[in-house]
């Protein structure tokens, strides 16, 4: 696949705060790539640097081979869909979409043809005369997309565009966007903090935290083989335990030895062990590889979510089997349910389900980490 | 800021401050001239303090402004409270227009219209002079109240409606909820409205001119009289004092308003986060 945008060693600070720390990234033609991470991780800043609204302190932005660091936004072949749509309130729908064409002095007949085509692509034909302030959120969203695409840019930047929509509409729009991307062949660079959204829409996901890229990969890579505790915790739910890699394919944690599918670590290397809650099977205590007491059960509709205390560490298990609070149960793990990651600065910060958020954890456990 | 912007701003502000600087400098002029500065002297200020007529008109002006401020602040605040709760669109539009009129009507029309009415009514009752302190007071209240409403109403509209509701939920009657919760919330608006009314009344010339009788002279009217004769820097001294008093009042008003805005935006930020 051809590289369309390259970010090389981009760094940016706002005052004392480093927002991007030496980021390098290749973005390809016809790719749906998502920048994913919690707020403050630098994903929006990266997007704005590509769009030309911020300039990197260090590093280069290369667009189809040319360095465009100093090029202003109106000269770049990149268009943006803004988070709150930024539709011009003094223009109607037609004029909003026609705006970039009029700027380029495209002849009137062509303008009508292009705008009509765009409006039908986002399914808003017939809305041309409407005032943008009278449209619903989803409709405004689609006008914003039509306006950004009418110029046929090479790259479309989308800054958390679906955040303000309610759940069902958001799911529909996710499908829409994916379809539009496939049909137009334009590279979409999508920013979001919603990992489900990222997993469902992207060809490639870039997980970011604290101004650094943590992992780049396809959705299944990111989900099944996270490289560190941060990624493992951010995507889906994970149990993350301290372990020791005894040798290839054998790891020890929670006082037991397990067979696994990973290799390439040093003998007896301390590692982080990731086990997804849905990969844990509940069995009778006698047949279990590990045993523990169920401390709470929550009915989630799709499955039950059980918190189980095994040797002081709180596991989360998702199961459709009935589980009771207070029961003493056993669990088994298939080798492919166990994923090994190298230790990183994020080790020990996540994975124990005493609480879900950092705030509550700090309140009940001031100053202490609670692994093992 | 770009250099061209800085230069342009400097020119504009220079233009705006030129007369003020002239005023300040020449109020200390040694000689009587208003265009040639010959030396520094306090004498005009001293003369001012000895000028009985001027001091009398200062007193008049302050009394008038204070009375007008009190009446218009109370009436305006009550009006704002009432307008805020109006359901009928028609009534609300009528109120908006009526409040708008004194603010957009030129002073001369407001002045003339009131004068004509007072003269007519006076003649009706056989009075020989119909214009006096009370007619001026009525006029001042009429043009000050809309400005009070303009300051208080937005505060009412921006207030979190949940606050008085919470008070009532916890046991207050609507009246006590208003006094204990709403009034403190809108107090910055009331104060800035009052200050605005006061400064408007202090400074008013045209309307006062048309609605005043012979006995009661306010400062602006006195100044008008003074400018018809030869003017000495004494007038500049007077103007300088007025200027600084007005400035002090408005800076205080500004400060109060800013603090209130800051407080409100912090409350909003916190609400957004959760």
């Amino acid at each position: 696949m051809k590289k369309i945008i390259e970010l090389r060693n981009i760094s940016k600070a706002f005052g004392d705060e480093t927002v991007l720390d030496c980021i390098s990234l290749d973005i390809h033609d016809n790719e749906f790539i998502t920048l994913l991470g919690p707020s403050g991780c630098g994903k929006t800043t990266t997007l704005r640097i590509i769009g030309g609204f911020e300039f990197p302190d260090e590093g280069d932005v290369v667009f189809m081979g040319d360095r465009i660091n100093d090029m202003p936004p109106h000269k770049r072949h990149v268009n943006t869909v803004f988070q709150k749509y930024a539709l011009f309130p003094h223009l109607n729908v037609f004029e909003n979409v026609a705006f970039p064409l009029r700027e380029r002095k495209v002849p009137k007949s062509k303008i009508k043809e292009k705008v009509d085509r765009m409006l039908s692509m986002v399914m808003l034909s017939g809305f041309a005369e409407r005032r943008v302030t009278s449209l619903s959120g989803g409709q405004q969203q689609r006008v914003a997309i039509a306006r950004a695409l009418v110029n046929e840019p090479k790259v479309l930047l989308l800054d958390e565009p679906l955040g303000a929509l309610d759940l069902k509409l958001r799911k529909d729009m996710q499908q829409e966007l994916k379809k539009i991307q496939k049909n137009t062949g334009i590279t979409f660079i999508f920013v979001t903090h919603d990992q489900e959204e990222a997993l469902s829409m992207s060809d490639t996901i870039v997980v970011m935290s604290e101004g650094k890229i943590q992992q780049i990969g396809t959705p299944s890579d990111i989900y099944n083989e996270p490289v560190n505790a941060f990624v493992a915790d951010f995507i889906g739910e994970s149990n993350i335990l301290d372990g020791v890699m005894l040798e290839d394919y054998r790891v020890s944690f929670a006082g037991q030895t397990f067979e696994c599918l990973d290799s390439g670590f040093a003998r007896n290397e301390p590692v982080d062990v990731v086990i997804r809650p849905e990969d844990v099977d509940i069995v009778a205590p006698e047949r279990g590889m590990l045993c523990g007491t169920v401390t709470s059960v929550t009915f989630m509709g799709v499955h039950n979510e059980a918190i189980v205390d095994i040797k002081g560490f709180k596991w989360m298990i998702q199961t459709t089997d009935p589980v009771e609070e207070g029961a003493y149960i056993g669990i088994t793990l298939e080798p492919d349910a166990i994923h090994i990651m190298k230790k990183s600065k994020y080790s020990g910060m996540f994975g124990d389900y005493s609480s879900f958020s950092n705030e509550l954890e700090e309140l009940s456990n001031p100053g202490g980490a609670e692994n093992e | 800021m770009k250099l061209s912007a800085k230069i342009y701003s400097a020119i504009i502000f220079g233009f705006l401050f030129a007369p003020i600087v002239v005023l300040l400098i020449f109020s200390f002029n040694e000689s009587k001239s208003l265009s040639v500065f010959s030396g520094f002297s306090w004498k005009w200020y001293e003369e001012l303090l000895r000028d009985r007529n001027t001091l009398e008109s200062v007193k008049n002006t302050l009394v008038l402004a204070a009375s007008a401020t009190v009446i218009s602040t109370v009436m305006g605040t009550l009006a704002a409270v009432g307008i805020n709760k109006l359901r009928s669109k028609w009534y609300r539009a009528a109120m908006n227009t009526v409040t708008d009129i004194p603010m957009t009507n030129p002073d001369i029309i407001t002045g003339i219209s009131l004068m004509l009415m007072f003269v007519f009514v006076g003649r009706l009752f056989g009075a020989s002079t119909s214009l006096n302190f009370f007619t001026m007071l009525i006029a001042h209240v009429a043009f000050c109240t809309p400005y009070v409403i303009l300051q208080v109403l937005p505060k009412l509209q921006q207030m979190d409606k949940a606050l008085p509701e919470a008070a009532m939920d916890l046991g207050c009657t609507p009246m006590r909820a208003f006094l204990k919760v709403e009034l403190p919330e809108i107090m910055p608006g009331i104060i800035t409205g009052a200050i605005m009314a006061f400064t408007l009344s202090l400074d008013d010339f045209v309307i006062s001119y048309f609605t005043s009788g012979n006995g009661f002279e306010t400062l602006p009217i006195r100044i008008y009289g003074m400018t018809k004769k030869t003017v000495t820097p004494k007038m500049y001294a007077l103007a300088t004092i007025i200027f600084f008093v007005t400035m002090a009042l408005l800076l205080i008003s500004n400060f109060i308003d800013n603090e209130d805005r800051k407080r409100l935006s912090e409350v909003r930020k916190k609400n957004k986060k959760s």
Binding site: F53, P72, H74, V78, N79, T80, F82, K84, A86, F88, P89, H90, P100, R102, E103, A148 | M1, Y8, S9, F13, F15, L16, F17, P19, I20, V22, L23, S35, V36, M75, A79, V81, G82, V98, I101, P102, T104, P106, I108, I109, T110, I112, S113, L116, F120, I138, A139, T199, D203, V206, F210, P220, I223, Y224, T227, Y236, A239, I242, F243, M247
Partner: protein
Amino acid sequence: MKKSCISRTQGTYRAALAPYSVWSLLFVIVPLVFVAYYAFTDNSFSFTTENITRFFTATSNMIQDDGTTTEVRTYLLIFGRSLKLAVISTLACLVLGYPIAYIMARAKEKTQKTMVTLIMIPMWMNFLIRTYAWMTILQDTGIINGILTKVGLNPIHVIGSETAVIIGMVYDYFPYMVLPIYSILAKLDVKLLEAARDLGCGTVSVLRRVVFPLSMPGVVSGITMVLIPSISTFYISQKLGNGKFFLIGDAIEGQYVANNLHFAAAIAFILMLILLVGMAIVKYVAAKYVYGGE
């Protein structure tokens, strides 16, 4: 029971509004009716249109600059002159004030606050004295000429001319043009400007196609707040025009001083009508401009 609770509180609110409603009716609305009443009556208060017709037909002899006398329609001339000066002053305020408002809106927050306060300072100086101060600056023996002669240049004769009056008007009403425009510009969503640049607009296009149309409500507000007072001003023309230019405001004041209340009312009445019509036109034109797309 719920119904009576609500209507009781509605009743309290209506009571709160009552003093102001009555006051406005008596002292804002009714006086305007009196203007019309006086305008259409004579000294014995019987109906007549002669005050109105006098406005349109009265003539007087005017001495031109070259010494010849011509007969002119007094009040129409005065009105034309007032209108001309007011329009020029308003345009001057707009052209000079818009850039400042823009600069202020783009400045950093602290600078903005300072600039707003600075712009308002001239308003704190008494209107009469502001005008008088300009007179001393512009006079033939005034400050500007004093500086010019010191430097060796020829003195300029500006006092008593229309230019002086315009300078005075622009000075007086400048903040009233700047503040509304600034207020709207400051609230302009920065993202809209970014979107315009994103879609291909250079700086000039952004200003022309996005900033200016969206600032129209502020511009209309500013025009209103300058045009109306400048048509009806009466002191500026006396002092800076050296008594040579009678404007409508001066005419009204003159008639009042001469105790011709009915004619004064007639002039005021006509002025009111003209302002109403004028403002309606301004608002209509602006609305068409803002929401027509392009």
